[in-house]
């Protein structure tokens, strides 16, 4: 029975029902995103297995320490998103913290791209003569596409978190709505982090 004035959206009759549907919908969307990035990671491994030497050459030039720092930023942001759900009084602070870390991630990524443009290894900015093996350039290109696509998802996640933050700040959300949105955005955030967890070693660490 619904005791408050807050009604679940049409066509649901109970909050639990709407929450379950939203959760299922978000998980299905996450599954589809995982398929997309999973295929990309598989493509990376496809070329790793074919051209171990060319790939090793490319990997040697990647800024793995900077990327490790980035990984720490993302892992910490995931922690903050989890804490946002478990500590109701600190929700806004945790959300802001996660968003800030996400922005820092993107900033560091930009710095990394800048370094790589300077070194002449990024697609569109390269003169093709930097590498011994052509497959090294191929791997660099793949690195660029994969990290750029991931970065786009981080940007979207940051946008979602800031949107929730501002809605909570202006007290525009009823309690059930707020809890549901927080859960859904957290799920999305954790997936973006999860993708990076697999992408990072695939691109930067193996075969250094």
């Amino acid at each position: 029975m619904i005791r408050s004035d807050e009604r679940p959206a049409e066509p649901f009759v109970a909050w639990a029902q709407q929450r379950e549907a939203a959760r299922l919908g978000m998980w299905l969307f996450l599954a589809s995103e995982a398929m997309m990035f999973g295929s990309l990671i598989m493509v990376a491994w496809f070329f790793r297995l074919r051209y171990p030497d060319g790939v090793a050459e490319a990997v040697a030039g990647l800024h793995y320490l900077l990327a490790t720092g980035n990984t720490v930023l993302l892992l910490t942001s995931s922690l903050l998103m989890t804490l946002a759900a478990s500590e109701p009084r600190r929700v806004r602070r945790c959300l802001l913290g996660a968003a800030v870390l996400g922005v820092l991630f993107l900033f560091c990524k930009g710095v990394e791209y800048g370094l790589e443009i300077h070194e002449g290894v990024l697609p569109g900015f390269t003169d093709h003569s930097t590498w011994q093996a052509p497959s090294a350039q191929l791997f660099m290109n793949l690195y660029f596409i994969a990290t750029a696509l991931h970065g786009l998802h981080v940007l979207i996640a940051v946008g979602l978190v800031l949107w929730l933050y501002s809605a909570l700040k202006r007290r525009r959300l009823a309690p059930h709505q707020a809890a549901m949105r927080l859960e859904m955005i957290s799920l999305y955030w954790h997936l973006v982090d999860g993708i990076w967890i697999l992408l990072f070693p695939t691109l930067y660490l193996v075969g250094r």
Partner: protein, 532 residues
């Protein structure tokens, strides 16, 4: 009757900003009908060209653009959305006893995405178009094509997301909004097949998305993923593309199979034979369908061992389809048959699906495929399934649920004439193509050996009959809106929740919340038929 019908509110805004799944279904119906005719025009160009052995109507390049337009429009903008987005949207909530889909606004957004993506693609295809075929094989699409590849890719990408969101909506709806008492094993089989289709929509389409992104990146930045000079592999493209596109063909056929289960039981006034088998076979088709994509690449240089595995799995995927065909036949045996128009479409489906399915097995055989690949044999095979079966399923659904959707009855005579014309025209069009393929005529060629002319002329003649048959419903179905008799609640005396609400249904589907205490396809004499 306290609620107005869903068609009551008037004005463009009430349609373009609706959240009602029934209205969204009608919007989709208009959209896919438009794209069907656009793709059909391209097909007409192809068949007219092929009447003569010389390439005289179109240049080779022009012909390439024609069959690309035909394939892209028909696959992504007609077949894939047809039954799921039109009949899925309209019927899923009603069949399970719900007031609407789980995410009504997402539903409307999905429609806008399809419309947007489709118009964009059509524009690109008309403004010069693309010559790569709907399959976008590399390196033609990435390095040598002189067409608007990027624009078409964008359009398809957007439409892909429309598919994903529709799939998410359907799965969430079926899981969470079933009325009390509507257990999984009481669901109409149409719901089972829509559910299985939605699994494929959600899990396969993202791989298409990444494939298109990679092709675009290759086209723009020459990243080299598919370029052998940089170490890339064109076969990798085919893996990624077919990993989506093979399950996509199951997206195109599973909903039609669900429709046929409904049509057969309604016409025979009898329970489906082997409900559980048919229900699980939909899921089995979805699951196994994800494992067979390599059968499109038998002659592309794929590893022999992989080909063996794919060949075996392709044989396996035929089994659940066969189970359905047997169960439908068993359902019809000793049933109380009414030979109305929807039923004729269902029969068309079964007959043509069997031919298409069996010829698929021929192609799954490695040795036979070596001979038949890239010939008209393949063209005939997939058209038997996608047009003979799937389009017949769509037309059957149209004729079955038209009274429910519009509240009008149409002429049964004209419906049956259309069904028979489709069956005859279709066979005349496509059966000769099996022979042409066997005799060695390659596909995607605008000119051919003069020895093939007779069969080609037969095929084109059949196509003109098909064209007439496809246009006929425009007259009697649209005409019914003006002059048709008002439909009763249950014109077919069928079982199912949708046949216990008004025609057309009220705004919120049911006057009061529904409780289900009956099995699916309850045609027993004590079954309740009173309006809900």
């Amino acid at each position: 009757m306290s609620q107005p019908s869903y068609l009551h509110a008037q004005g463009l805004r009430s349609w373009l900003l609706t959240r009602d799944h029934k209205r969204i279904a009608v919007l989709y119906m208009l959209t896919v009908t438009f794209f069907f005719f656009a793709g059909g025009l391209a097909a007409s160009l192809i068949r007219i060209e092929l009447v003569t052995p010389e390439g005289d109507l179109l240049t080779a390049d022009g012909y390439n653009r024609a069959f690309t337009l035909h394939g892209v429009i028909m696959v992504w903008f007609f077949l894939i959305p047809s039954i799921p987005s039109v009949f899925g949207n309209f019927l899923v909530p009603i069949m399970i006893g719900a007031k609407d889909m789980a995410f009504p606004r997402l539903n409307l957004f999905s429609w806008y995405m399809l419309l947007g993506g489709g118009l964009f693609t059509l524009l690109a295809l008309l403004l010069g178009g693309v010559d790569t075929g709907w399959t976008f094989y590399t390196p033609l699409s990435t390095m040598f094509s002189n067409g608007h590849v990027l624009a078409v890719i964008c359009g398809v990408f957007i439409a892909g997301f429309s598919s994903i969101f529709t799939g998410v909506n359907i799965i969430a709806t079926v899981h969470t909004l079933r009325a009390p008492g509507m257990t999984w094993m009481r669901l109409p089989l149409f719901i089972w097949s829509m559910y299985a289709t939605s699994i494929i929509l959600v899990l396969a389409t993202p791989v298409l998305a990444i494939t298109l992104v990679l092709v675009a990146a290759e086209h723009l930045f020459n990243i080299g993923v598919f370029d052998p000079k940089l170490g890339g592999d064109p076969l990798l493209f085919q893996h990624l593309f077919w990993f989506y596109s093979h399950p996509a063909v199951y997206i195109m056929i599973l909903p039609a199979m669900g429709v046929v289960s409904e049509l057969i039981t309604a016409a025979g006034h009898k329970r489906i034979f082997g409900y559980r088998f048919v229900a699980w076979s939909s899921v089995a088709i979805a699951v196994i369908g994800f494992l067979v994509w390599g059968h499109h690449m038998f002659v592309a240089g794929q590893s022999m061992y992989a080909s063996l595995v794919f060949s075996l799995l392709s044989f396996l995927v035929a089994i659940p389809s066969a189970i359905k065909a047997y169960n439908w036949s068993a359902t019809l045996y000793k049933s109380d048959l009414t030979l109305h128009a929807p039923f004729l479409f269902a029969l068309t489906f079964i007959g043509l699906f069997i031919v298409g399915g069996v010829t698929g097995l021929f192609l799954a055989l490695l040795a036979a495929d070596l001979h038949a690949h890239d010939t008209y044999f393949v063209v005939a095979h997939f058209h038997y399934i996608m047009v003979g079966a799937a389009v017949a399923g769509y037309f059957g659904a149209l004729h079955f649920w038209w009274p429910k959707i519009t509240g009008r009855l149409y002429s049964q005579l004209w419906g049956k004439i259309t069904a028979i014309l489709i069956f005859c025209g279709f066979n005349l069009t496509f059966f000769p193509q099996f022979l042409l393929g066997y005799l060695g005529m390659p596909r995607r060629y605008h000119s051919y050996d003069p020895d093939f002319q007779f069969l080609n002329v037969m095929s084109s003649a059949g196509a003109s009959i098909l064209a007439v048959a496809y246009v006929l419903p425009f007259f009697y179905l649209l005409g019914s809106l003006r002059w048709g008799e008002r439909a009763p609640i249950n014109p077919w005396e069928a079982a199912g929740l949708e046949w216990r609400v008004a025609s057309p249904p009220p705004l919120h589907n049911f006057e009061a919340p529904v409780t289900v205490d009956f099995e699916a396809y309850d045609y027993s004499p004590e079954a309740r038929r009173d309006p809900l």
